[in-house]
Symmetry: C2
């Protein structure tokens, strides 16, 4: 029987979600803890890659268990006791046997945090950019991201994707607790896409690029046109959505 | 001429505010940075001690400069560039020549953060206590802290204080962003006082101590009666207030 695990992690100590040789990954760490709890080697499949140093406030991964799990809260408590401090499990939910954490996801959301001042408590969770930013212009540019478009300009070269088309449903900056927060939601994201978008929007915010210039970057479909990627510590995966029918009702 | 410096710091890497032999302190680190900027050995006097590992969201220290400082925002920018990431200066304000960061403070406020769940993003800024807590009873007990009282039960032994009387003006728990936050304000605090109070209130919250039992701890005036001190990483100094007339108007 298959389960979805809802978790959060600080990406600081990991070379991203995905298992790699000779580098710590969230996937590997989670597999080892699950295998210990379930007493059988257990693989996990994640909702998608996150890059080195990128955080997840809400991530979803699926795994298979031979027997039904104990009560979810107890299971999470035990799993959290084995996992290191920087990975925390919030919930485990029974899903259909063919449910897939990556392929069934219908929407994902990221948030990017920029701190406009030096802040000892946000060093690992925001990009500290001590510089005046024009949020209105950044939002004007961000609006042009909405809809179904080709985002080749914000992708990694040679990613091997069949298409670079994504449907962006939200793209907006706002102020929150003294930070500038960019929220972006889409049906899918290309590798490095959010950080490339944020880096280019920050160029708009500091007057290096006009709103029209930003639009031309998208239309150019050329990675060389975009700005420098914003650093990873400001980026959080914050939501992964699935259709209701992937979940199996439990009593 | 004398200045008040407003700063914040993460206490994680420091053995508290106060200079010590062979141990890093915020005071020492700040003095070195100021001495570099002002090009003359410069001492700073803080609003009070903070213990090893305790944070400050707003701390005030005074220092003397031989010449008037450059524009405050520029001065802070340069000072922040020299200071390590875990100490940040927000403002510098000219004060009367006899103003004193410690003796002129009329009220101080602390906040203590308890996270009732494992949270990878709050490891260094909250006490993670995975346990049901009765916030109503904790607030009932906290209310008995209000007023002018002898707090010997929540002091360190042999502190050398002439009196252990403090006037507590606020003592209240509330929920905020998934954390339990205790806010306490007083004219003065004894060493270790807030963490001893929080540790004892947590005993009330988990049913180990009654509200009447908590009141008896205060009345007993005996450090042995209080609960274990709560750990330092949850504690923040959040406010230090001065009378308006310590500040000198600048043009």
């Amino acid at each position: 029987m298959r389960y979805f695990l809802e978790l959060s992690y600080s990406g600081k100590a990991y070379n991203g979600w995905q298992i790699q040789n000779n580098a710590p990954s969230v996937q590997q760490t989670l597999q080892e803890a699950l295998s210990t709890i379930l007493r059988v080697p257990t693989g996990v499949v994640g909702a998608g890659r996150t890059d080195t140093g990128v955080h997840a406030a809400r991530y979803v991964a699926h795994f298979d268990a031979e027997c039904p799990l104990e009560e979810p809260q107890r299971f999470c408590y035990h799993l959290n006791a084995i996992l290191p401090w920087d990975i925390a499990v919030q919930d485990v939910r029974r899903v259909r046997d063919d449910a897939h954490a990556r392929f069934d996801a219908v929407e994902r959301e990221y948030k990017y945090y920029v701190s406009p001042r030096k802040d000892p408590f946000r060093r690992d969770v925001a990009y500290q950019l001590i510089m005046p930013l024009d949020l209105d212009r950044m939002n004007e540019a961000a609006e042009t991201l909405l809809g179904r478009q080709d985002f080749t300009s914000f992708s990694k070269l040679h990613s091997g994707n069949k298409t670079n088309i994504c449907r962006v449903t939200r793209a907006q900056w706002r102020e929150q607790d003294g930070c500038y927060v960019f929220t972006v939601a889409a049906d899918r994201f290309l590798r490095n896409m959010v950080r490339a978008i944020v880096g280019t929007l920050l160029d708009v915010g500091r007057g290096k690029l006009s709103v029209e210039g930003f639009r031309a970057v998208i239309d150019g479909r050329d990675r060389a046109l975009a700005g420098t990627s914003a650093p990873p510590q400001g980026l959080f995966l914050t939501r992964v959505d699935y259709p209701d029918d992937v979940y199996v009702k439990q009593h």
